[in-house]
Structures are given as structure tokens and as C-alpha cells.
């Protein structure tokens, strides 16, 4: 078991380096951001001077190497726009994004499990078909559209919730601001997980050991929850790991729609402003979170299903 964990961790480090390399390389093709640090009517000489001062005239792999050596110590450079250390800016915003993503994940699971289980056990009934229709609609709706519609109906028309931003005035206010974005972000996952749980459970329910459980005379909850669900969970857990990545990605859009002060919002703006250090810092941070979650999921997966460990 421990070799498996170590292996995954080493892989993760490699992936992380690869990610930063990729992002650095891509961003570098947009041209160097010297112009952000000089005024628009600066002479060519002035531009060259600043460029040299900031180190942008060196080949990109040299700059990357320097970045890497600093990054390992937690120093992601300084924002070109704001002139403050990147690490601080990004860390400031991580809690907001995590709050949003985790809430969305919880909402998604809390809804998807009962719906999926009920739909599987009452297969082809009206309830099943309505639930699955709702699920496929939820999977087809673009996140930003869900967000805007929710904003319009509950924020604009009914006025129950604020239009955007993150509440700072105590837990009640925070909750009011959190609900709409979290539900928006959760929609796609919720729908997809409900369908997945249903189909996975249906597959498991057809297996022989479940028939044995019924034959033994066990009551329905015991059969479903104690026997079938455990094995049905295996593909579901993998998906939850991937889900988190999708949630982080979806958070980028949701944060933009709701003006939520998270990392996603920051990275979109920074890309537009060509604020390289911030972009790289954000992406690295997001990648770290995602990789960590995936390693945890893989370890849990390896724990539940011994076949994976030997692979």
C-alpha cells in the first residue's frame, strides 16, 4: 500500500513540474509583459532598460529555471500589475474558491445520491423518468446560463439573494451570497453524478451476490445500502476525483458571473492583463489542489479495491 502511495506522490511532483512548464511556455508566446511596467510613451531605450532590469530579455528556459528555483521556496515573483508578491495575492483568494468548490461538491453529492439510488430502485417509474430527464437537462445547461438565470429569477425578480460578490458581514450574509453560485456550480456535477450513481447501481443490482442477498430475505435497505452500494461506489469515487477538477474549472466561469473573489476570477483577469507571474501562480496553485485531491482519491480507491494496488 505504501509503495502505491509513494509512487503516486512522485508522479504528482512530475506532473506539477510539467504543468508549470507548459503554462510558462504557452504564456511566453504572447510576448513579454514589459509594456505593463513602462509608460506608453517611453523611448525604445527606456523599454529595453526595463526589459533588462526585469529579466525579460533572457531566453524563456532561463527564466523558467529561475522561476522554478524560486517557486520551490514558495516565491512566485511579483505581480506586474499590482507590484505585490504573487503568493500573497493567490493565497488570499484560495479560501474563496475552495469554499465555493467544496460547497458545490457537497450540494452535488447530497442531491445526487438519494436521487440516483431512488431512480435505480424504482426503475422506469414516473419518478425515475422525471429525475433522469431533469438530470440530463442539468448536464446540458451551460454553467454560466444557469448562473445568469438563477441571478435573474432569485436575485433580480424575487430579490431573495444578492447579485454578486462574497458576503463579509457575518455567517448569515455569507450564506446568502454563497447559495446561488454554489448551486450554479453544483448543477452539472449533480446531474452527472445522479445519472452515474443510477447506472452504476443498476449494474451492481443485477449481479448474483445481490440476488443471494434478496434470497436470504434481507430487507430492501440492507440489500441496497450494505451490499450493492459499496461496489457501485467504485466508479463513482473516481468520478468525484475528476469532478473536483471540473468544479475548479467551472468555478472559473461561476466566479466571473457572480463576481466571486476567487482564484478563477483572478486568473481570467490576469490572463487578459498579461500579468504572467499571477497567471503562473494561480495555475500552479489550482494544479496543486487538483493533484492533491486526485492522489487522495486514488489512495482511497486503492484502499477499497485491492485489484488496483497491484496494477
Amino acid at each position: 500500500m505504501s509503495t502505491y502511495v509513494v509512487r503516486r506522490l512522485l508522479q504528482s511532483v512530475f506532473v506539477l513540474v510539467g504543468v508549470t512548464f507548459l503554462v510558462y511556455f504557452i504564456l511566453f508566446q504572447t510576448g513579454d509583459p514589459t509594456f505593463l511596467s513602462v509608460s506608453t510613451d517611453a523611448s525604445q531605450q527606456e523599454v529595453e532598460r526595463v526589459r533588462h532590469q526585469l529579466g525579460f530579455d533572457r531566453p524563456w528556459y532561463i527564466q523558467y529555471a529561475e522561476f522554478l528555483s524560486k517557486a520551490v521556496r514558495g516565491d512566485f515573483g511579483t505581480s506586474l500589475r499590482q507590484g505585490v508578491p504573487v503568493t500573497g495575492i493567490v493565497l488570499d483568494r484560495i479560501p474563496a474558491t475552495l469554499e465555493l468548490a467544496i460547497t458545490a461538491l457537497v450540494i452535488s453529492l447530497v442531491v445526487a445520491f438519494p436521487v440516483g439510488i431512488l431512480a435505480a430502485t424504482r426503475r422506469n417509474t414516473f419518478m425515475d423518468q422525471t429525475a433522469m430527464l431533469a438530470a440530463v437537462l442539468g448536464q446540458s445547461a451551460p454553467t454560466f446560463f444557469v448562473g445568469i438565470m438563477l441571478l435573474f429569477i432569485f436575485g433580480g425578480m424575487l430579490g431573495w439573494f444578492p447579485i454578486g460578490g462574497r458576503g463579509q458581514a457575518g455567517p448569515g450574509d455569507e450564506l446568502r451570497h454563497l447559495i446561488l453560485p454554489a448551486v450554479t456550480l453544483a448543477t452539472f456535477s449533480m446531474a452527472r453524478n445522479a445519472r452515474l450513481i443510477r447506472s452504476s447501481l443498476l449494474e451492481t443490482l443485477g449481479l448474483e451476490y445481490v440476488t443471494v442477498a434478496w434470497a436470504k430475505g434481507l430487507a430492501e435497505p440492507a440489500v441496497i445500502l450494505r451490499h450493492a452500494l459499496r461496489n457501485a461506489l467504485i466508479p463513482v469515487i473516481t468520478v468525484i476525483g475528476l469532478d473536483f477538477g471540473a468544479l475548479l474549472g467551472g468555478a472559473i466561469i461561476t466566479e466571473t458571473v457572480f463576481a466571486w473573489p476567487g482564484v478563477g476570477n483572478l486568473v481570467v483577469k490576469a490572463i487578459g492583463q498579461k500579468d504572467f507571474p499571477v497567471v503562473v501562480g494561480c495555475v500552479t496553485m489550482l494544479a496543486v489542489v487538483f493533484i492533491v485531491i486526485n492522489v487522495i482519491v486514488d489512495v482511497i480507491y486503492g484502499y477499497i479495491d485491492p485489484r488496483i494496488r497491484r496494477a
Binding site: 451551460p142 454560466f144 436575485g155 447506472s199 467551472g250
Partner: protein
């Protein structure tokens, strides 16, 4: 078989409608999508009080007909959706075949690159790449293909790993059939079913991704009507209440993707009855 399920029929109907809009847009649309008169701006749909019968679904803030823009918007969504998937599929399937068949270094390299790419949310990578390449139809297709090939590669690789052990493959090697021919002529046909299922859901995902990109203003140029772009421009009207500007394009996206998802469900059941629910 197709007739067996009402949802599949619905899906086909929706898709035929959308494709017809895309292909015959200049003929079907009542107005030119980019022309608008400020006098006509922000008119509600024709069935409402201040609506105008010339503009069935109303007009946007520049006086352009929403219905016509939606019809033309289908062109971008469909083109990007299908092209990016075909391109991603070509890349992904080839890499998956190579990785699964040759194993060893090729396998390791492909899978590591795949891991690195998967560590980033697709949207984020797409935004970054488009920031480099700039807007434009070809760039969007290329970007979504680059960010989307991984699923194909992984699944194909997995299936190749099992198919390559089968006797008929060993037999082909024995009589001297070359590697390339074995991969494409013998292994690939057995893997096609999965590819088709992935591809169908990938089209849905790609259309959603393109919509998100045009919502952020990063897709094709600002001139071209896109569904995502229409939702974005309508966003300012949430407070002022001109809901038709963003609701109808959003519904267009949703219904199109719905049709594709339902069709994908049918395809999946067709290729593997065990999964039928």
C-alpha cells in the same frame, strides 16, 4: 430501434432543426444578424405588450433580431463542436493506439503528457492558449482539440491493451503483418464503438466549452454572433429586466446539447446493451 424511445426521437428532431439552422441560416433567418437599428433596440418578444411582429424573439441592445442571431449562432457552435471533436479524436485515437500497442517508452510518454494536461481544467488551458493565439474560428477549434484529446487516448489505450493479446493479433504478427496495419486495420475496428460513444458526449462538452469561451469573449471575433456571446451581452440586462436577450440564446445552447446527450445515450445503448437502463 430508433423509434423505440421518445427521447431519442426528440433528440433527432432537435438536432435536425439546429443543423438546418446552421446550414441554411441565410435562407431561414428573417433578418441579417449583424444589422440593427437603434430605434428598435431592446424590443421584447412579439407576443408581449411592446413587442413588434417583425422580431419574433425580440431585439438586443443594438436593435438586432434575436431569432436571426440565434439561427446564425448555430453555425459557430456546430462547426466548432464537430471539427474540434474530429481533430481531438484523430490525435487521441492515434496516440492511444501507439501507446497501447507499443507499450514501453511510447506508452509512458503519452500517458505522462496526458496526466499533465489533465491536471489543468480544460477551460483554463483553453483560455491561456487562446490568449496566445488570439480569437478566430480556427484557433478555437485547434485549442479545443488540444485540450480534448486525452479522453480518447486513455480509453483507446485501455482497450488496445486487451485486444492486442487476442489470438488473431498474434496470428497476424506471425504471418508478418506490419505494425501500422495491425493497429489500424485489425485493432482499431474493435475499438470503434467506444470511440463513437466518447465522441458523441465530447461534442456536447465541446459546444458547452465554446459557449463558455464566447461568454468570456475569447472565442471567434466580436462580429460573429455566438450563443455564448449573446448571453454575455445580455448580462447587463439582468437588473433592467430584458430577459429575452440572454434567455433565448441560453436555451438554444441547452436544447442543442440536450439533443446531443440524448443521442449519445442511444448510441451507448446501441453499442453495449449491457449498459442499457
Amino acid at each position: 430501434m430508433l423509434m423505440a424511445r421518445p427521447t431519442t426521437l426528440l433528440a433527432v428532431a432537435i438536432l435536425v432543426l439546429v443543423i438546418a439552422c446552421g446550414v441554411f441560416a441565410p435562407l431561414v433567418a428573417p433578418h441579417a444578424p449583424r444589422q440593427g437599428d437603434l430605434i428598435d433596440s431592446k424590443l421584447p418578444p412579439s407576443w408581449l405588450a411592446e413587442g413588434d411582429s417583425r422580431f419574433l424573439l425580440g431585439t438586443d441592445e443594438l436593435g438586432r433580431d434575436i431569432l436571426s442571431r440565434i439561427i446564425f449562432g448555430a453555425q459557430v457552435s456546430l462547426t466548432v463542436g464537430f471539427s474540434a471533436v474530429v481533430l481531438a479524436g484523430a490525435i487521441g485515437v492515434t496516440l492511444g493506439l501507439v501507446a497501447g500497442y507499443f507499450r514501453g517508452v511510447a506508452d509512458d510518454v503519452v500517458m505522462r503528457v496526458a496526466d499533465v494536461q489533465l491536471a489543468l481544467p480544460q477551460i483554463l488551458m483553453a483560455i491561456a492558449i487562446l490568449a496566445v493565439l488570439g480569437p478566430g474560428l480556427k484557433n478555437v477549434i485547434l485549442t479545443l482539440a488540444i485540450t480534448g484529446w486525452v479522453t480518447y487516448a486513455r480509453v483507446v489505450r485501455g482497450e488496445v491493451l486487451s485486444v492486442r493479446e487476442k489470438d488473431f493479433i498474434q496470428a497476424a504478427r506471425c504471418i508478418g503483418v506490419g505494425h501500422v496495419k495491425i493497429m489500424f486495420r485489425h485493432i482499431l475496428p474493435n475499438v470503434v464503438a467506444s470511440i463513437i460513444v466518447i465522441a458523441s458526449f465530447a461534442v456536447a462538452g465541446t459546444i458547452l466549452a465554446e459557449a463558455a469561451l464566447s461568454f468570456l469573449g475569447l472565442s471567434v471575433g466580436p462580429d460573429v454572433p455566438t450563443w455564448g456571446g449573446m448571453v454575455a451581452s445580455g448580462r447587463d440586462q439582468i437588473i433592467t429586466g430584458q430577459w429575452w436577450i440572454y434567455t433565448f440564446p441560453g436555451l438554444a445552447i441547452m436544447l442543442t446539447v440536450l439533443g446531443i446527450n440524448l443521442l449519445g445515450d442511444w448510441l451507448r445503448d446501441y453499442f453495449d446493451p449491457r449498459l442499457r437502463t
